[in-house]
Amino acid sequence: MIRLVFLGKLADLAGGDTLEQPGSPLSWLELLASLPTSLADVIASDSTKVAINGELVADKAAIVAKDGDEIALLPPVSGG
């Protein structure tokens, strides 16, 4: 099981804060393909950063998530 965490407005697009994905291992393209296109498009854009298990990922296209991983999807932070 892989856990997706949607931060900020991505949670609205995803219809919730988290989503459990059964398949594993899961590549970045497989992950995008498993999501609604409107959500996948935003997540694929450069403005969405990714962290796996609390560590930021430099090249999100290269990730392969395995069972037990938590993938956080981080839209641009809002200043104040």
């Binding site: 931060l7 938590e70 956080a72 981080l74 932070v77 809002s78 104040g80």
Partner: protein, 147 residues
């Protein structure tokens, strides 16, 4: 003396700053910034969400950078998360140093990074519901000042 916290309840900045100043004997100056939720037209509440595995470590890294860049004796960095009403404090950064320039610049540096680069997402509640707040161009310009 380093004190970095995320708080999910209302706090009174004065109750943090007094003890912080006392904890840095021999200081030459203390600079403090307190940000509050503005009474913007029609805004009933503000909610700040975060991603815990990144947020607090990110604040500690920011503190590391501030200590490396400025001559500091102490740094207090407190940020609210959760639901806030207009007038409530959101953030309090206080820096103690031998010389005022270090204290003032460290607060400026930390605030720019907390506003423009820390892992917080804001939304505000208006009569027609919740609205996410987008990043502002000014935040990036503020960050660029620090190279």
């Amino acid at each position: 003396m380093r004190d970095i916290r995320l708080l999910d309840r209302m706090f009174i900045p004065g109750t943090l700053i007094g003890p912080f100043t006392q904890a840095n004997p021999g200081l030459g100056g203390v600079c403090t910034f307190v940000g509050e939720v503005r009474h913007d037209q029609g805004v009933e509440a503000l909610e700040l969400s975060h991603y815990e595995p990144l947020t607090l470590p990110g604040m500690h890294e920011l503190a590391d950078r501030a200590f490396a860049r400025f001559e500091l004796m102490g740094l207090l960095m407190v940020h609210r998360i959760g639901l806030m009403r207009p007038g409530e404090p959101i953030v309090c950064v206080s820096a103690a140093a031998l010389h005022r320039r270090d204290a003032i610049d460290a607060v400026d540096f930390c605030m720019d990074h907390l506003k423009g680069a820390a892992w917080f997402w804001k939304r505000e509640k208006r009569a027609d519901g919740w609205h996410w707040i987008e990043p502002r161009a000014g935040d990036h310009a503020d960050l660029a000042r620090w190279g």
